[in-house]
Symmetry: C2
Subunit: 131 residues, 2 copies
């Protein structure tokens, strides 16, 4: 009963498979802003949502600084138009970067595949020679 609706640092760590150090680090980087009860941190559902976005961003290979900027966008607090517009532009830029990155990856994949076919042929020749 009496759901606290907040998690301690340990509960957060267990839930999301991160270390306390990581959560404190993210707070220092202003990616999270848990409330305080005395000296202890209490993570709200807002923090949990943000952490999930952070972790997803990391899986995509974004830096924490990239993620910090993206979080601003996911936060549709949209105070004024100028801010919103700037944020939108940031997203567009990021999108272009991501597509470029994907294209490069595709090229590298193709190259590596070619390379591997050669390797496979060489290997097959070896095995044939060994009878």
């Amino acid at each position: 009963m009496t759901q606290t609706d907040t998690l301690t640092i340990r509960e957060m760590c267990d839930t999301y498979a991160v270390t306390p150090r990581t959560l404190r680090f993210y707070e220092a980087k202003e990616l999270l802003s848990p409330i305080r009860q005395g000296a202890k941190r209490l993570f709200t559902k807002q923090d949990r949502a943000r952490l999930q976005l952070i972790l997803r961003g990391k899986r995509f290979g974004f830096s924490l600084e990239d993620i910090r900027q993206l979080l601003d966008m996911y936060n549709r607090d949209g105070s004024n138009e100028a801010q919103l517009s700037r944020t939108y532009q940031l997203g567009l830029d990021r999108l272009a970067q991501m597509k470029a990155q994907r294209d490069e990856l595709t090229i590298a994949i193709t190259e590596l595949e070619t390379e591997l076919r050669e390797g496979q042929a060489t290997l097959a020749a070896f095995r044939a020679a060994a009878e």
Copy 2:
């Protein structure tokens, strides 16, 4: 004519778009082993071939340490099937990683595009309200 068949460090840098520091660094890491003329380095065509492999490896996302091992295996005989097979397997693993990474990127791109459409709508509403 008297082709020297070797390149100075600067010629190497110009040819492959790397800095002198990089070439010296690679030598320290035993990725390259240019011959010496006094104190100066002279890069043979062997070095050039290796550098090309290094740069390609980097495009594939291999670390220099990975690359060093791959180069060693490649040079050690080249006639050892076990080593060749291992190299091939490393390539396969890396290829799988790269494809997975690309798939995740594609997902992220789609998500971001959705998010951006939302942002654009919000922005349009703002502007309509401002008349």
